[in-house]
Symmetry: C2
DNA sequence: CAGATCATGTAATTTGTTACATGATTGT
DNA sequence: ACAATCATGTAACAAATTACATGATCTG
């Protein structure tokens, strides 16, 4: 079994809830984990084949007369065990990449206005993300009483909220700092 | 020129400050941008060759009698222009990956204690990151009066601080939530 | 004298992205 | 009629990680 292919476990996790087609998995991902674990069809379909070869999922073809054929995948007992085993392993160092910080780090090569504009765009993007999180949260509050799954879903949304808020706060402070600096430079 | 190889620009950016060897570039990265843009030797050396072929940097060999030979790279005017051009392009959608959220999203498959432990480990890791940021900040406060570069450096540290704090706050709330849930489940 | 640091690289593998390819059905 | 959605995939490419390979010098 691959050591690092975590998207495999994202797919397996989705199948631990219900039987799904590759297309359905994509939709589930887009509607839930995409903010911290996105995946395209180019990853989903090949990974499903790997999972099947490893005996972690089984497939069943539903021949549609009007609609296209659907290949429905179901998790096996072995798959469920493998998933739990992975969930139990400690989370490694997680390294992120912030293109905006990379660009800003070398920001002295550009006029300050350009950097300010960049930060303001970043702020705006994060404002829309925050709205999305708050939308998710509202939808969730009803379903929350039903199952434990939803509690964990809520936790992921909560981190999203915190992060996007942190981004926005930073953007505000950063813009102020750069504007001050600009004012000082103009005076001289 | 490659469309997406942003590490190329990280290297070029480091060379915009001073002439460096591949080995030096690695050190510079480790001491500054590694929290948001890490790179290993396996990326640095091949990318330097690409930059040279494109005429964005020049190389000069320093034959050491006692030490190993050093290949010193310097940015060209064309390289500086290319860097500025890239810095001016807007920052695209940046997608992050949080392994801890992926694991937590499917957390209902594990006993709550395990999820709590995971979150507490995450909190601790982020506490050390925050300390590092604060150390960086202290070092910086002296140099800050000299050059504009340092102001942009400060901005990147500020975002780091915000994010690690957000992570820690979230961890505290998340643990509380899970412990409450646990208490409720035990009562029934 | 052992381990860290200086110094350069290549090769293999894995992972992820993007483009291509096909075609029916459903909604506006 | 046109766009969006349903549905499956492959192939090419790009990027990043990891392991391998070498060897001197400096520090404790």
């Amino acid at each position: 079994m691959a050591k690092e292919n975590k998207t495999l476990y994202a797919i397996l996790g989705m199948l631990s809830h219900e039987e799904l087609t590759g297309y359905d998995i994509k939709k589930r991902i887009d509607n839930s984990i995409r903010f911290f674990w996105d995946a395209g069809f180019g990853q989903i379909y090949p990974n499903l084949k790997i999972l099947e070869k490893e005996g972690l999922v089984t497939k069943r073809v539903e021949t549609g007369e009007t609609r296209p054929n659907r290949i429905i995948y179901a998790i096996t007992e072995k798959g469920r065990e493998e998933l739990k085993k992975w969930l139990a392993t400690p989370v490694g160092e997680q390294h992120v990449r912030y293109e905006i910080l990379l660009k800003l780090f070398f920001g002295s090569l550009l006029p300050a206005e350009e950097n300010i504009k960049k930060i303001e765009e970043f702020r705006e993007t994060n404002r829309t993300y925050l709205e999305t999180m708050q939308g998710f949260k509202t939808c969730l509050s009803e379903a929350l009483k039903e199952s434990d799954d939803h509690l964990y879903y809520l936790l992921t949304i909560m981190l999203g909220e915190k992060i996007y808020k942190a981004h926005m706060e930073w953007a505000d402070e950063a813009v102020k700092l750069l504007q001050n600096e600009q004012a000082v430079n103009i005076k001289h």
